[in-house]
């Protein structure tokens, strides 16, 4: 499991715009770089990130080899109702990691 850092509000007012910050520790190996033995290191990147709230996709990103290691992604969404935010990173070598957080919406 890769280490993930998240900054997600636990509570929000209905209709409030909330910021979601994520960082996942990942090498993001480009596939163009030779290793110590001169052989090109195989590509190993996160290819897609998705954020779903109560089953509905609210944000997604396609990542490319030019993106640096340990990708930091930040986005905003509108807090409409109390529910579960599911964050998912998928990539090369079968990489697939999911984190979930509850967001309580009041008012």
């Amino acid at each position: 499991m890769a280490r993930v850092l998240l900054n997600i509000p636990r509570t929000a007012r209905k209709g409030e715009v909330i910021a979601i910050r994520t960082l996942i520790q990942h090498v993001m190996e480009t596939g163009y770089r030779p290793g110590a033995d001169g052989e090109v290191l195989p590509r190993d990147i996160i290819r897609r990130f998705t954020a779903s709230f109560e089953g509905e996709e609210v944000f997604a990103a396609d990542l490319s080899p030019a993106i640096a290691a340990n990708p930091f992604l930040s986005f905003t969404m509108v807090a409409s109702t109390t529910g579960t935010l599911v964050l998912r990173w998928q990539g090369d070598k079968g990489f697939d990691q999911t984190e979930t957080r509850e967001i309580m919406v009041t008012g």
């Binding site: 280490r3 850092l5 900054n7 910050r21 960082l23 290691a69 340990n70």
Partner: protein, 416 residues
């Protein structure tokens, strides 16, 4: 160091200048900023027989190198202070005024008292300005509570007093900026010496270092030293661990990061930086906040006739250090002497060495040699060197002593 720099000066040496066998007055050069860059450059220009005016608001200069030792109580502030009597004795006119304006077209500098100085060539060595707009909540007033201590002086003493006043068992939090900034290994030397202070005086305390980057100067050497000397005391959090500071909470004495907040009994915030105020005012700095220069003459790419040296300039691979400023000062002075005669300026080689203390008797160093390539200063591969990762205590102790020798040599060169 003396030998190394002399050899270097030989590489860039201009043909000996005729000491003014001319009817008209010798050309006038104004140098703004009396730090390692400006003071060294003024002396080097004077040695070329030029009429030199050094503009520096303070009567005394407080040196940053070794100021981390002051913070840790290893050294007195007095040992960091230098005056300009040496410069005056060389025949340099020292004006204790702030430069408030530069008219590059008219070749004039305006001073704080409204008077003006005309120049044939101008050297800017304004050092850094701290960006009090970069971290939310961290302005000049906040620095009175959460010191930066990144410009030596009262801030250095404040951080030292706060460490002394802290109870054993407290947490010290440091925030370190992303590149570029003054003295790349400086924050890690500071972390080392604060850790040493805590270990010897307040052993139940902790130091948390929050960094806005994942790698840094002499990293493996520092980390090996920390593991050996300060295990369990010093915790390092890189960018990928959520270490980037985005703001501060002054009332809560905390550093706010992208993923949380870290409070401390003592909080040292090193904010992002840019070239000193006069460089911004004059238009010598670009959007990065730093000053693009020609790597052969250090002439500004934005203001003809104006040269920028030291921390304020964009020097490519060359780090922002006192040693770099001193090396650039000499190259710049030689270039100015040649340009004033209409002579071509040879391609220079510049040397930098950075010593850091991991403990009072544990020194490490990195050296580099630089030359112009592709419009910037580039590192010459294989020409520099770094302390070995494995070395006996005697080697580390010798390097700590070399660091002190270096400081004596460079301050003697800059301040006479």
């Amino acid at each position: 160091m003396k030998i190394a720099r002399r050899a270097l000066a030989g590489l860039v040496a201009a043909p000996v200048l005729a000491r003014v066998a001319r009817a008209q007055a010798a050309p006038a050069v104004v140098v703004i900023g009396g730090g390692f860059g400006g003071a060294s450059c003024a002396q080097a220009l004077r040695r070329h027989g030029l009429v030199v005016t050094l503009v520096e608001p303070n009567a005394t200069y407080t040196a940053c190198p070794f100021s981390n030792a002051v913070i840790a109580g290893l050294r007195s502030m007095e040992q960091q202070r230098f005056g300009y009597d040496g410069a005056r004795a060389q025949g340099i006119t020292v004006v204790h005024q702030a430069a408030t304006g530069i008219d590059a077209a008219a070749r004039q500098v305006t001073l704080g008292d409204g008077s003006r100085l005309a120049y044939d060539r101008l050297v800017l060595s304004p050092g850094i300005a701290l960006r009090f707009d970069a971290l939310e909540g961290y302005d000049e007033a906040a620095a009175a509570t959460l010191p930066h201590a990144w410009q030596a002086g009262p801030q250095t003493e404040l951080l030292h007093r706060q460490l002394e006043a802290m109870e054993d068992g407290g947490t010290v939090v440091m925030a370190v900026p992303a590149n570029p900034y003054r003295c790349p290994p400086g924050p890690y030397e500071r972390a080392s010496l604060i850790a040493w202070y805590l270990k010897t005086k307040k052993p139940r305390s902790k130091l948390l270092v929050l960094d806005a980057k994942d790698s840094f100067s002499k990293q493996r050497l520092f980390e090996a030293g920390w593991a050996a000397l300060y295990p369990g005391l010093l915790e390092y959090v890189p960018l990928s661990g959520g270490g980037r500071a985005t703001g501060v909470d002054v009332a809560g004495r905390a550093v706010v990061t992208e993923f949380g907040s870290q409070a401390g009994a003592v909080v040292n915030v090193i904010p992002p930086q840019r070239a000193g105020a006069i460089a911004q005012m004059a238009g010598a700095a670009d959007r990065s906040g730093w000053c693009p220069t020609d790597p052969t003459s250090f002439e500004s790419r934005l203001l003809p006739g104006v040269h920028v040296i030291g921390d304020a300039c964009i020097a490519g691979a060359m780090p922002k250090s006192a040693f770099s400023a001193n090396a650039q000062a000499r190259v710049c002075a030689d270039a100015i002497a040649l340009l004033l005669r209409g002579a071509p300026v040879p391609e220079p080689r510049l040397l930098n060495t950075c010593y850091s203390l991991v403990a009072p008797d544990y020194g490490i160093s990195v050296a580099g040699v630089y030359r112009p390539a592709g419009g910037v200063l580039a590192d010459i591969p294989g020409a520099g060197g770094i302390s070995p990762l494995e070395a006996p205590p005697a080697t580390r102790a010798a390097e700590a002593a070399y660091a002190e020798d270096w400081f004596e040599t460079i301050t003697a060169d800059a301040f006479g």
